[in-house]
Symmetry: C2
Subunit: 212 residues, 2 copies
């Protein structure tokens, strides 16, 4: 198909398609003549994946490229794919303090978790506690035990889903991990907003907006 048809079917503009190809997220099309390029169904499928990561998952183009590179490599071990999907987390430019790393580690161990030093979630979570402190809002860290319990429930649901598809081959398992991790964050953030509104309504009475 021509780029105009690919744009219509994918919902991604022709300019963005060219940009993703230049940036290495999308394989180049097949040049069939001067200023004319053919694209296939594999380009359409790929654009669905790119849109998911960037528009719905909120990843930067650079983060999406890293995540896609891991999902593409059939030789990529499962553990590493998990690691690269995990690297899609926003990263603070400053390393977290030892105090916050310890605070997260303690909260995780209190819930019985095995804590891995090289897990990118550890500095990401510790960086949040550092920001609470910089803002003079150490009190917000009181949410930590509740968040740890919630994260455990989410991870169990994630692993159930991954386990179910282990026999579908490594490519599907990689896609499950990559898509499920990035989009799962967006799903959880959306549900959290809904739960806050519901819980606020339960505790404080009617909130603006009518129940559906």
């Amino acid at each position: 198909m021509r780029i105009s048809e690919l744009a219509t079917r994918s919902g991604v503009s022709a300019a963005s398609i060219k940009w993703y190809a230049r940036e290495g997220l999308l394989p180049a099309g097949n040049r069939t003549g001067y200023n004319q390029t053919e694209y296939g169904e594999e380009h359409l499928a790929r654009l669905h994946l790119i849109r998911s990561l960037i528009e719905v998952g909120g990843l930067s183009v650079a983060a999406a490229r890293n995540v896609l590179a891991a999902a593409d490599d059939p030789a990529h071990p499962f553990g590493d794919t998990l690691g690269i999907a995990q690297a899609s987390l926003p990263r603070s430019t400053t390393p977290p303090t030892a105090e916050s790393v310890q605070q997260v580690t303690d909260a995780a161990r209190a819930q019985g978790w095995e804590v891995f030093d090289d897990n990118p979630g550890l500095p990401a979570a510790a960086a949040v506690l550092d920001r609470y402190r910089a803002l003079g809002r150490e009190d917000l860290a009181a949410t930590l035990p509740g968040y740890v319990r919630a994260a455990e429930i989410v991870a169990a649901a994630d692993l159930d889903c991954i386990t179910k598809h282990l026999d579908a081959g490594p490519a599907t398992a990689a896609q499950t991990v990559v898509v499920g991790t990035v989009l799962g964050d967006a799903l959880l953030a959306g549900l959290r907003r809904m739960a806050q509104a519901s819980e606020s309504h339960r505790r404080f009475g009617p909130t603006p907006g009518s129940p559906s």
Copy 2:
């Protein structure tokens, strides 16, 4: 203080400080002469908040500006501040399908939630289910009930924290909501990665990387 001192103390480059001021996130400094501007402690505190939202929370500059505008307005009703912090979610350019909105609504009601039509979390969560479907991975929606239970635990911890600070005045309550919501997503995403690694280790045995 001069911009160079402000940059050192905040960890934000002088170029970024100027950009944030131009974009309306940071109030302008006090011009004391040609090419010389003075900044105060309030600019430092504000830069800590901006860094939190953008670097650690992963918000775009435009999203951070909206969230800060809500936190700044002392007349802003609590419910609206919650609404604007909620609007920090990534937004799909396509409205979600009625089918996915219903699927999220049903899962939330099954957990006893009050569902508000105008909550931005609802289309954000539904957009994720639409992306699962576009990718041919409807099976990933099997995580929904687990995520709903987890979101409820998180929201209860959030509301406990907000409730504790209601008597500190509306400005503090607004800051709690704004900072807690945006950074809370990042904290939860980090803990989720740690929980996945721990759960994967428990189910499948040793993973790359040694326990600390």
